[in-house]
């Protein structure tokens, strides 16, 4: 035993576990994954008073040891000592919400029965007091038979006492054999015991949660509630695009500078081309989305931390039920507007397997931020900049139409999927609605930081690798000197494009598009750069470059072709990262293969319909 002792934080959802974890470990945390499942493993280092380190792991919130969701499964396996890649914890810190004792104590009783050393953190005692609830921690400790420490994680109250108790627990020899799950009493018996203990420990009680009820009477109002939700979403999308402009420009300038510097440093040749055209341009094209993603996540994290997100799910449940989903699917789908990858990862909280699978399969239909550069350039080239109504331009209207197309497509897809491949009893919607809370800047920032790290790591590995491969496909083999064949045409990618062209010709696509579709598999926005390369315009960012590109597009593409191209991008599953994360989340190739298949077929059919309708309409 030379490794630092492992202590797990465990408790119900909404017990304030993560806040306590952040308060105990500060910035010394690591986000990883449990092997085989994509549940995140949050761990951090806690230094005891005598300097000895303890590894603290924050387990996903669970209601009991009888797992409903993937997250809960991991929690159960870790405390039972059967999670692959994780040691059995040496002690547990059970976090309970002081204002919700009767419910949270049931899980506590289950955990205590396991026989591991336990300390109970009676968290958020300040809020409970404000709520008119006075508790006696000593009575609670006596009833439970373990130490109980009142804490307020966000104000760092009780942390020293908690650390001292952790110290005492990990120093103990582990004596008793550990109970197995089936020796533990059934849930009803435990629940009744929990209620009895909670009422014994409650000194005074007044009706609950005045503020939360007040807010809810607005947020959940049958008429005002939905209006508020739409307004919030509107502000969110406005902010994502408005606030991100400046940082996006900085990043673009930074990468351009890097490209120039690398160009100056490296000798002319294939290696310079690999570094500048391949690596820097490719990775840069993806990293520019970091500001958009962070702003969107900022909103999502704040909405989650305040407790509003569950209210949004509540309001959306009826609509989602129409297509066989539940309100819970709303949260991952909302995230997918930034990027389908975190959206698909967020489906883990959905209990029902079929429900979760359906949500994963439709997530790519939410218009992610990577489609925006493609939409923007085609719209500015082909859609006249005309006012249809005061303040409503035709270009903006078309853009909105493309977003709506994706949403409608997703709903239709969900409806069909739920009747065929993901058929099953209509899943339920049952969710605890936590009290409203003021979000803590520190917790939100830590959340954002871990998102940024995940994204940058991905850009540095998967995306860097794919862009290098694509660069190679576009650059080799070189045409013979003086043959007059363009290098792109002669390259492997060019030859692949010739094959694709045969297939996409019937839906109005030309060779340039066929060529752009290959690199767009890595990241959709690369399509713009690829078309630019085909037209030998090396820089689409400059005013002149952009203008030249739209002129070339207008000359080479008909309007029906352009419209078909836009429609293609609404549906096409064009992004390797999405396919990869789907494979990880569904444990195999079956579902990503199905997703790619159904989305390509839909994209092909929809683009074809658009093209031929436009041709017959004489556009």
């Amino acid at each position: 035993m030379n490794a630092a002792p492992l202590v797990a934080l465990v408790g119900n959802p909404n017990a304030g576990k993560s806040a306590l974890f952040n308060a105990l470990t500060g910035a010394r945390q690591k986000v990883g994954n449990y092997p085989g499942v994509t549940v995140e493993r949050h761990s951090g280092r806690l230094v005891l008073d005598d300097g000895r380190p303890v590894e603290l792991v924050d387990l996903p919130g669970a209601y009991s040891l009888d797992p409903g969701s993937l997250d809960e499964q991991v929690t159960r396996n870790v405390v039972m000592g059967s999670q692959a890649g994780e040691r059995r914890p040496d002690a547990l810190v059970v976090v309970v919400d002081a204002a919700n004792l009767d419910n949270h104590l049931r899980f506590t009783l289950q955990l205590i029965a396991l026989g591991l050393p336990v300390v109970v953190a009676l968290n958020m005692v300040d809020l409970a007091e404000r709520d008119g609830l006075t508790l006696d921690a000593d009575i609670l400790a006596r009833e439970l038979g373990v130490t109980v420490i009142p804490t307020v994680a966000v104000r760092r109250r009780g942390l020293d006492a908690l650390k001292a108790e952790i110290d005492r627990l990990v120093a103990q020899e582990r004596a008793q054999a550990v109970a197995s799950a089936d020796q533990i009493d059934d849930i009803v018996t435990l629940q009744r015991r929990a209620r009895r203990i909670a009422s014994a420990a409650t000194v005074a009680e007044t009706p609950t949660r005045r503020w939360t009820h007040l807010f809810d009477s607005v947020a959940l109002h049958p008429i005002v509630g939905p209006i508020l939700l739409i307004a919030l979403l509107f502000i969110m999308f406005q902010a994502v695009f408005a606030w991100s402009q400046t940082p996006v420009e900085w990043i673009e300038d930074g990468f351009k500078w890097l490209e120039i510097q690398a160009g100056l440093l490296l000798p002319e040749g294939w290696f310079r081309s690999l570094i500048t055209d391949g690596l820097i341009a490719g990775v840069g094209a993806v990293i520019v989305f970091l500001p958009l993603i962070l702003i969107l996540f900022l909103f999502i994290l704040v909405l989650e931390a305040t407790g509003y997100m569950v209210r949004a799910a509540f309001l959306m449940d009826r609509l989602m039920a129409q297509v066989g989903l539940s309100g819970r699917a709303f949260i991952p789908l909302l995230s997918s507007f930034a990027c389908a990858v975190p959206g698909i990862m967020a489906t883990r909280t959905i209990d029902d397997e079929k429900d979760r699978l359906t949500t994963i399969l439709i997530a790519p239909l939410m218009t992610c931020s990577a489609r925006l550069p493609v939409y923007t350039i085609i719209i500015s080239a082909f859609i006249p900049d005309r006012q249809v109504l005061p303040f409503v331009g035709l270009q903006g209207l078309v853009l909105l139409g493309l977003y709506l197309m994706g949403i409608v497509g997703a709903f239709v897809a969900a409806l069909l999927l739920r009747r065929t491949v993901t058929k099953g009893a209509s899943s339920g919607f049952m969710m605890e609605m936590p009290k409203y809370q003021w979000p803590h800047i520190r917790d939100v920032l830590l959340g954002l930081w871990s998102r940024a790290l995940i994204f940058l790591k991905r850009a540095g590995t998967t995306i860097a690798l794919t862009t290098v491969i694509l660069w190679a496909l576009l650059s080799f083999p070189k045409p013979p000197e003086g043959s007059g064949i363009s290098p792109v045409d002669y390259s492997i990618a060019g030859r692949i494009a010739s094959g694709i062209e045969v297939v996409v010709r019937p839906i109005g696509f030309n060779r340039d598009i066929a060529l752009a579709l290959v690199p767009a598999m890595a990241a959709r926005e690369v399509a713009v750069a690829a078309i630019g390369t085909v037209y030998a315009i090396d820089d689409t960012e400059h005013e002149g470059g952009q203008k030249a590109m739209t002129d070339k597009l207008k000359r080479n593409w008909s309007l029906p072709t352009a419209l078909a191209f836009l429609m293609w991008f609404v549906f096409a599953p064009q992004c390797i990262s999405t396919i990869a994360v789907t494979r990880r989340e569904t444990n195999g190739w079956k579902w990503p293969a199905f997703m790619v298949g159904y989305l390509f077929v839909t994209a092909y059919v929809m683009a074809g319909i658009t093209y031929w309708l436009a041709v017959f309409a004489g556009l």
Binding site: L133, Q191, R195, D216, R318, D352, M430, E432
Partner: protein, 83 residues
């Protein structure tokens, strides 16, 4: 017993007590989650909000917790008036 109403039809803001739960009406995972959220005979319950008119979910207080559930599930929970 026949006079008991269900949580689905219980008027808003009228404290009641869970009298019985028709577990047979519920799917297994649903029943488990309902128990975990604290639904049990003898527990105080109150309807707080109903989503859009018609078929949306309802939000209710159970013990000290607020829980959202669908009407079909609420219909299987029999309640007696009074806390």
């Amino acid at each position: 017993m026949a006079m008991l109403s269900s949580l689905e039809t219980l008027p808003r803001r009228q404290p009641a007590t869970v009298a019985a739960i028709d577990w047979a009406q519920l799917a297994l995972p649903e029943a488990r989650r309902l128990r975990e959220l604290g639904f049990d005979e003898g527990v105080g319950v109150e309807v707080l909000h109903r989503a859009t008119l018609g078929s949306g979910p309802i939000a209710c207080r159970i013990g000290r917790m607020t829980v959202a559930l669908r009407r079909r599930v609420a219909a299987s929970i029999r309640v007696a008036p009074g806390a």
